[in-house]
């Protein structure tokens, strides 16, 4: 596929936003459970704002993918069948909840909504946080399913796609959260950095799993099935036009194999290797790790852009069988 930066930014930005939100809610939950220091409302409000900005930027990026953004509202209509439609519904819903979560924290408005059996009070922020987390996961699934559901793109059509979107989004969010925590002076670097390392390593494992899987894919379609001629040697001579078309632009990356391989190593190092190293470093650092962690978050984000670019480029659409030769 042709990697479209609108979609690359969309998925990476919202992924980080989702992860960041989950991290914030985790921090709050751990605090309530007494497993981590309790943070004040501003910490959450500001963190949520960062998450919202990422989500908003992602949303803006997504508009660049649309030919007719002014009609974007129509996308919500086909949620029964279309993962894209579902994503479009879940994303604003999630952003709404994130907003309310942040607002509640900012205003320190946190009434008990109800009490669970066993006398456990459910605070408004917790309810919002839980709902947000559910929506974040739903959003991960929706976004990922847009790709995983296309069975023709065998590289994408796998549960690993959903796992990767979720884990990589979460990892980048947690790395960011770690940096945020360090910057804001919260005593959370340890717990967040550990989680971020765990998520990043998990992501590495699942991403490598998908790389291995994809390397072994035997394309289901061949030139033989594409044109229905049973002969081992078929070569296209002419695709029927010479100056390119939508079909040659949208589904090809037009890059060399070498370039693709380089991008693969770049993302493996930038999205996983370096961030893990820097996060681990932050755990043992005696001085303020903020800058190191910011670097980790930035590098990981850039790595994920490369990862996403590779994700698209690697996907080999069967329609390409029909567009191989200009003459």
């Amino acid at each position: 596929m042709h990697p479209a930066f609108s979609v690359i930014f969309l998925t990476t930005l919202i992924g980080a936003g989702q992860g960041l939100f989950i991290a914030l809610f985790l921090v709050e939950s751990l605090g309530l459970l007494g497993m981590a220091p309790i943070q004040d409302g501003n910490f959450f409000a500001l963190g949520t704002l960062a998450s919202l900005i990422l989500l908003g930027l992602g949303l803006i990026a997504s508009f660049f993918h649309l030919g007719r953004p002014e009609r974007a509202w129509r996308t919500a209509t086909k949620w029964r069948t279309s993962w894209l439609s579902r994503e479009v519904i879940v994303l604003p819903a999630f952003m709404g909840v994130v907003f309310l979560y942040g607002l509640a924290h900012w205003l320190n408005f946190n009434p008990t909504l109800f009490t669970l059996p066993g006398d456990r009070a459910v605070l408004a922020t917790v309810a919002l946080g839980a709902a947000g987390t559910v929506l974040a996961v739903a959003l991960f699934v929706s976004t990922a399913m847009i790709y995983a559901a296309v069975k023709f793109l065998q590289e994408w059509h796998s549960p690993l796609t959903v796992v990767n979107y979720t884990v990589l989004g979460a990892a980048s969010g947690f790395t960011l959260a770690t940096a945020y925590a360090a910057w804001s002076g919260a005593q959370l670097v340890h717990v967040l950095a550990s989680t971020a390392i765990a998520l990043t390593l998990l992501g590495l494992v699942t991403r490598i799993a998908s790389l291995i899987r994809n390397a072994r894919i035997k394309p289901k379609s061949t030139l033989q099935t594409a044109i229905g001629v049973k002969h081992p040697r078929i070569v296209q001579k002419s695709q029927g036009f010479m100056g390119g078309s939508f079909n040659t632009r949208e589904f090809f990356h037009h890059k060399s194999d070498g370039f693709i391989r380089t991008v693969k190593w770049v993302f493996l190092i930038a999205a996983f290797g370096i961030p893990t190293g820097l996060l681990a470093l932050s755990l043992v650092m005696t001085v303020d790790p903020t800058n190191v962690l910011i670097a980790a978050a930035l590098i990981q984000y850039l790595g994920l852009i490369a990862e996403r670019w590779f994700f698209f480029a690697q996907a080999n659409h069967p329609q390409n069988l029909y567009y191989q030769s200009v003459a």
């Binding site: 070569v235 001579k237 029927g240 036009f241 010479m242 100056g243 003459a327």
Partner: protein
């Protein structure tokens, strides 16, 4: 979604996106062309259309259109395209003054050459009336070998004159054809033929287009078909698979030839002592050797049956052999094994092909319950036929040995008994015609006189040396040297030599060259790079060697840039046209047909139909045909001319055959009908005269048909037209060259050439260019194919078609490419003896390894056709013509790169080598030409096209 405006209108006319002439329906919305589809009631295309026809809108609204008469700016170089617009009145006065002077002094200093036009009836008439011998259309550089080779053998030909009867055929062999003129009908027919279970074999070095769906592809080395065909004849005769009855009655195979080498009449037919009749036909005064009585008798003697083989002695002792015996002797050495070495086709395949043809012809005879009477009065209860058919075009024609290859093909078809019979070859009116047809050019310089029309036809059919158009020394009278001893049967002229000859002043200098609808600075010229220089070349006095160049074109072709005066023509949707019986009508197997174009949209800008230009000039110059006896203008305009012109006063023969007579009640012949155009308009723009069934077959010898044709003045005589297995016509030229007989003799330096190539029986020889090439240095044959979605050079301006072919590559068999170290898509050099081009190579398994090929005329000169100089056509496309020379060196000086019999341009004889371009060379084709800028009056080319009819391409 845009709402459709209701203002819809449908008008019928005839397509001219190519020369096939399909009937089209032009749908207009608010006067703008919305849709063009095929007219289902039209006999040619029966409702279908092709890629080009469907893209007519993009031609109509193309930014390459010329819209104003243009004069080269003072001091501007030819080729730079630096013009200023002028009025038509200025253009006419300029032409009138110049041409009037030439006509009064030396009319041959005016030369008119036309390309792929369909109005030779008018252009030819104009030239003749003007009095210049220097006229021809594209035939000579196109496929004159096809016309001459077959017409001199069977009185008709492929091309637009006849074709395969695929409806009834069982085996169809297509040789050297990619797209052809009759393209939609051929597609319709091949498809039906295949669906009905016919077997389709294609003999071609390349497998594209129609060949793709052939049941068998027989790859052949270019220029070697005569070897294949002669071997097929060998095998057919050796196995006795020829149609004896057919040959006996309908060919000259049984006629006795004088084989006494000492005799002046050696090689001529022996004749009965009845004096030969005078007239342009083949008198029936020859002899057979009768099997029953074992003696010589007059042919077609009702009781006689001639021997086709053997050697006999007449009473006076003259040794004689039937023509068929001579043919058999000729092909003796042409065994399949021999042909295999030349053609690259396995001998077993050649034998199998011969057997398939022979056995199918013999055993699957067709019999139609149609009674007819032959020329000798014998009544036949049925029409029979042998269902083997052929089609061939430029793959045979465009070689300098093409005439004899094509004669061999016509003879093979005749041996199989397939001439004008069901399932075989069928004629189209006005063919069959006598061998050769009757038209003759003047015979010498005296035919060209100041102030007078030419004393003869501008183009004709020599029947003997005395018919040549030469001076006392045997030198040419025409600028292109057609009908001279160099190319005696150049029946369509030799347009590809005009510019070179005029530039060199050989045989003389001319003054004004008018080129109509031919892109002679590009694809219809060989040696393009040099020819472009010649067009711009000046003599010692600083005067142009070709003093005045007029180009009439509808588009900004490469040629227009070289003009001193550009005359903007209309498009086919803007003008009246007549596809006339006097030219190349659209006749069908079942009878004559002609057609017209009627304007469906008004002319753009100041465009004027070229027909109107000729009528205007003819009137101003007071050419007799355009002037009343009182000396005033005779015709208002072209439509008026078409209606009222008669070949001779009162002849009743005019441009159109339909709805003649005062009220349109007559056909073919009749007085002018003032409402003729309306009647054509009402009838799909076509007149189709269906002959009675009994006149539809065997027309060479069909008494009823021949008399009908004579009555309707299609032919002058109703004599039978016997197939010339053995060509006495050719023998007459050979005899003259050998110093026999009383006719004119060729100049000494040409005697051997004429004696060699005017062999009365077909023979195989290497194309002349190959004879003059070191084949180790230049091992590969380079040829072109017609792409179905592009017409010569003129469709690159078409926004839709150019997306399909926007540049071309050289297709090479991977074996050949790898041997030269060339990878797929590499940039390479292709080099012939004459020049070289840089282009891209592409592997193809569908090409014979000794051949490389490319699509014809896709490459363009920068800026031409109002394409951006960065267009793919100019940067990546290339023209093979840069590699082809219009002349070959000879012992006696240069000679045209043409067939020595007909002057057919040898496009497909060039030999090349290929090698990788250096890595640091620019990735653009070479040669490149200076960019030509758009001319005044040309529409601006849009950067984005959003065509929606009646929204003006919003």
């Amino acid at each position: 979604m845009m709402t459709q405006t209701p203002a819809q209108e449908v008008k019928n006319t005839t397509c001219y996106m190519c020369a096939c002439r399909c009937g089209i329906r032009v749908h207009l919305r608010d006067g703008e062309v919305r849709y063009i589809d095929g007219n289902p009631d039209h006999p040619i295309n029966k409702g279908v259309i092709c890629a080009k026809g469907s893209s007519g809108i993009m031609k109509q609204y193309s930014p390459a259109r010329l819209t104003r008469p243009l004069r080269r700016k003072q001091g501007a170089e030819r080729g730079a395209g630096d013009f200023e617009p002028i009025s038509w009145e200025e253009a006419f006065s300029m032409l009138e003054e110049r041409l009037a002077h030439l006509r009064e002094t030396d009319p041959k200093k005016f030369a008119l050459f036309t390309g792929r036009d369909q109005m030779q009836a008018l252009t030819g008439l104009f030239a003749k009336q003007f009095g210049t011998p220097n006229y021809a259309a594209h035939g000579g550089f196109c496929s004159v070998n096809m016309a001459a080779g077959m017409i001199y053998t069977i009185g008709g030909s492929f091309w637009e004159f006849g074709g395969p009867d695929l409806e009834r055929s069982k085996l169809f062999v297509m040789i050297g054809t990619a797209e052809d003129h009759h393209s939609n009908p051929l597609k319709i027919a091949i498809s039906k033929f295949k669906r009905e279970g016919g077997r389709f074999i294609s003999i071609n070095p390349v497998r594209t287009g129609y060949s793709a769906i052939a049941d068998e592809w027989v790859p052949i080395r270019p220029g070697t078909d005569s070897a294949l065909l002669l071997a097929l004849i060998h095998e057919i005769i050796a196995k006795g698979l020829y149609d004896r009855d057919f040959l006996v009655r309908y060919s000259n195979g049984g006629q006795l030839v004088n084989v006494d080498e000492a005799n002046d009449e050696f090689g001529m037919f022996l004749r009965d002592d009845v004096p030969a009749a005078d007239g342009c036909y083949d008198p029936q005064d020859k002899l057979w050797w009768d099997r029953r009585t074992d003696r010589a008798v007059r042919t077609h003697n009702a009781d006689a049956d001639p021997y086709l083989l053997g050697e006999f002695r007449l009473e006076d002792g003259t040794p004689a052999k039937p023509a068929f015996q001579l043919l058999k002797e000729r092909v003796e050495e042409y065994t399949p094994e021999w042909a295999s070495r030349i053609t690259g086709i396995p001998a077993d395949t050649i034998r199998r092909l011969a057997h398939e043809m022979g056995v199918t012809a013999r055993d699957q005879r067709i019999e139609l319950p149609i009674a007819w009477t032959d020329s000798w009065g014998v009544e036949h209860e049925s029409v029979t036929g042998n269902p083997v058919s052929f089609h061939a075009m430029r793959g045979l024609a465009a070689h300098s040995n093409g005439f004899h290859s094509i004669r061999a093909l016509a003879i093979l078809m005749s041996l199989l008994g397939t001439i004008d019979r069901p399932g075989g070859f069928r004629h189209k009116a006005p063919f069959p015609r006598p061998i050769p047809p009757c038209a003759r050019t003047p015979k010498g310089p005296e035919g060209v006189q100041p102030g007078k029309p030419l004393d003869g036809m501008v183009l004709g059919w020599p029947a003997e040396p005395d018919d040549l158009f030469v001076d006392d020394q045997g030198g040419p009278v025409r600028i292109d040297k057609a009908f001279s001893w160099e190319y005696p049967l150049a029946v369509h002229g030799m347009m590809h030599n005009v510019i070179t000859n005029a530039w060199r002043g050989d045989p003389y200098k001319i003054d004004t060259l008018l080129i109509f609808m031919a892109n002679m600075a590009w694809n219809s010229t060989m040696n393009t790079v040099e020819v472009r220089k010649m067009l711009n070349d000046k003599d010692e006095n600083g005067e142009y060697r070709i003093p005045f160049l007029v180009v009439a074109d509808a588009f900004q072709s490469e040629m227009t840039a070289f003009a001193d005066l550009v005359l903007p023509d209309t498009t086919y949707l803007e003008r009246h046209d007549a596809m006339s019986m006097l030219d190349r009508p659209i006749s069908e197997f079942d009878g004559p047909a002609d057609s017209v174009r009627i304007p469906v949209v008004p002319p753009k800008g100041e465009c004027k139909p070229f027909q109107e230009v000729l009528i205007e000039l003819g009137s101003r110059l007071k050419l007799p045909a355009f002037t009343t006896p009182e000396g005033t203008r005779k015709y208002r305009d072209y439509p008026d001319f078409v209606v009222n012109y008669e070949t001779e006063p009162g002849s009743g023969i005019g441009f159109l055959a339909g709805w003649r007579g005062k009220g349109g009640e007559k056909a073919l012949r009749g007085e002018p009908n003032p409402n003729q155009w309306e009647m054509y308009a009402k009838n799909n723009c076509v007149y189709h005269h269906e002959l009675p069934k009994s006149y539809q077959y065997m027309r060479n010898w069909n008494k009823g048909y021949l008399e009908w044709s004579q009555r309707n003045r299609i032919t002058r005589y109703a004599e039978p037209i016997l197939i010339h297995l053995y060509s006495e016509v050719l023998m007459k030229f050979r005899a003259a060259a050998q110093g026999k007989g009383t006719s004119r003799r060729p100049p000494a330096h040409l005697a051997e050439r004429v004696a060699t190539y005017f062999d009365p029986l077909p023979f195989h020889y290497d194309p002349l260019e190959c004879q003059a090439t070191d084949k180790h240095t230049y091992p590969l044959a380079a040829i072109t194919q017609r792409p179905m979605a592009m017409y010569h050079s003129w469709d690159s301006q078409n926004a839709w078609l150019r997306q399909i072919h926007t540049h071309n590559v050289l297709f090479v068999n991977p074996i050949t490419a790898k041997n030269a170290g060339i990878e797929d898509d590499d940039w390479i050099w292709v080099e012939s003896q004459w020049g070289k081009v840089r282009c891209m190579a592409k592997y193809s398994e569908a090409v014979e390894p000794g051949t490389v090929w490319t699509w014809n005329a896709i490459g363009k000169a920068a800026g031409a056709w109002n394409l951006s100089p960065k267009s793919n056509e100019a940067r990546k496309g290339f023209l093979l013509n840069h590699l082809i020379s219009e002349e070959l060196p000879g012992d006696q000086g240069r000679i045209s790169n043409s067939d020595p019999v007909t002057g057919q341009a040898s496009w497909y004889d060039v030999r090349v080598r290929i090698y990788k371009a250096e890595a640091d060379e620019p990735k653009i084709t070479s040669p490149q030409f200076d960019t030509v800028k758009p001319f005044p009056g040309q529409p601006k080319r849009s950067r984005i096209l959003n065509f929606f009819a009646a929204k003006g391409g919003k």
